[in-house]
Amino acid sequence: MKIMNEIKYEAALKQLQEIVERLESGQMDIDALGKEIKNAQALIKMCKEKLTKTEEEINAIIS
């Protein structure tokens, strides 16, 4: 389960990286831009939640 999360997290991070690179290239048309930013924000939110949840779980295990 944790491994699944990890992979998903890693994949989300990679996706995020790609979006950021596209955003920064300045080549994007404006409709796509909005959509990409929304995607990026959703990914960031998801990653933060996963990270927080995992951190809590791990702290519960090792403390």
């Binding site: 920064e24 048309d29 404006i30 831009l33």
Partner: protein, 400 residues
């Protein structure tokens, strides 16, 4: 007086003598020629005590087999009591017995009816002591020459010795004491004893102990140690233990032999060569119990040491694990910090790319055909644009 006999014979040559007359002449001759007592070395060949003490003395040739002189000797009641008292005082339990080399004060005696015999006036026990010591020394020398003198003492007594082969007389008090003491030991050790009966006094000591050792030798794997024991105060002498054949058998025996043959004077040859030599059966039992007790203590100490070693090891591992735990906590914290930082960076970069953040500073964005207007000179009169501000948007037309 020596002329007296000659006179009897030669004065009257026609007369035939009666045996008693002839014998009395022999008696007169003996008494005249040997009037004084003298010290004589001889081996005791036989001895019988009936108030008076009757002995048979012998001297053998160098081979020790053929008598070259033999004579009767008698010690009269009164003298015998004194002689015997002196002997016992010096020799303890060692009785006069056949084969013993002794020094006698003898006076020649010829009786018409009983013939020749020596009258014993005294016996010097110190001579016998010397002879016995000499005999022991000779045996020990032979054992050393054969290279077997130290063999028994080089055998280790097993630290777990509990199967005991006993060579003893079953009727001896020392045997019972020994068994009882082993059974009643304070530690509850279960000794297994097997008796190999042997005569522990008199002339049969050598033969019967050797027979017992041979019987044990047939089943060596059943025993850890052999004990030869004999109760003290039995009155038997120890010279039977001082024979070469017995000494060789003891020296060559493959199991360790412990002696406790009950004496407190000179040790015997087998005491000298036995693996362990103790004075009494009681001392032998105590030795065997102490031997196991020492092993028990060693094992107990080992148990304590093992426990301590394990405890120390566990403590070390605990410290190690605690260290690793701390390391884990901090590396986990580090990991999450790094991840959070990465996300934060992403967030900032996404934010920077979002045009809304520029519009909020008062800029507006013109969109033509779905694309941001980057070059206003390309627009023509009448083009419809969407104007986007930080808040809201409007359709506008290019006028000039």
């Amino acid at each position: 007086m020596s002329t007296f006999a000659a006179v009897l014979i030669f004065d009257d040559d026609n007369k035939q003598l009666s045996l008693s007359e002839a014998n009395s002449m022999v008696r007169a001759a003996v008494e005249s020629v040997l009037p004084d007592a003298m010290w004589v070395q001889a081996e005791l060949m036989d001895i019988r005590e009936k108030g008076h003490c009757y002995m048979e003395l012998v001297e053998k040739d160098d081979s020790g087999n053929t008598p070259i002189a033999q004579a009767r000797a008698c010690c009269w009641n009164n003298t015998w009591r004194e002689v015997k008292g002196k002997w016992e005082q010096m020799m303890g339990e060692t009785l006069m017995e056949r084969g013993m080399k002794m020094l006698f004060l003898l006076k020649a005696n010829f009786h018409e009816a009983y013939g020749f015999s020596w009258t014993v006036l005294d016996i010097d026990p110190t001579y016998t002591i010397g002879e016995m010591a000499k005999n022991r020394k000779e045996i020990i020398k032979k054992l050393k020459e054969a290279g077997i003198y130290d063999m028994q003492r080089e055998l280790p007594v097993s630290p777990f010795a509990k199967r005991i082969a006993i060579v003893s007389s079953p009727s001896a008090a020392g045997y019972e004491d020994f068994c009882r003491q082993l059974e009643d030991n304070d530690y509850g050790f279960a000794f297994e004893t097997t008796l190999f009966p042997a005569t522990m006094q008199g002339e049969n000591i050598e033969g019967s102990i050797i027979a017992a050792l041979n019987a044990i030798n047939e089943e060596l794997e059943k025993y850890d140690v052999v004990v030869i024991i004999r109760g003290g105060g039995s009155g038997a002498d120890l010279s039977g233990f001082d024979t070469l054949a017995l000494a060789e058998n003891v020296a060559n025996f493959p199991l360790p032999i412990i002696t406790g043959i009950g004496h407190d004077r000179d040790e015997t040859v087998i005491d000298a060569i036995a693996c362990v030599s103790l004075k009494t059966p009681t001392a032998v039992a105590a030795f065997l119990i102490d031997n196991l007790a020492a092993t028990l203590e060693k094992l107990a100490n080992s148990a304590v040491r093992i426990t301590r070693a394990v405890e120390r090891r566990l403590e070390t591992e605990k410290i190690k694990i605690e260290g690793l735990g701390k390391q884990l906590t901090s590396s986990v914290a580090m990991y999450f910090l790094k991840q959070k930082h990465t996300l934060q960076m992403m967030e900032q970069r996404v934010g920077a790319a979002d045009p809304i953040n520029i519009l909020r500073r008062g800029y507006t964005m013109a969109i033509h055909n779905g694309k941001a207007v980057k070059d206003a000179t390309l627009l023509q009169k009448g083009d419809r644009l969407t104007l986007i501000a930080a808040k809201g948007e409007r359709e506008v037309t290019v006028e000039r």
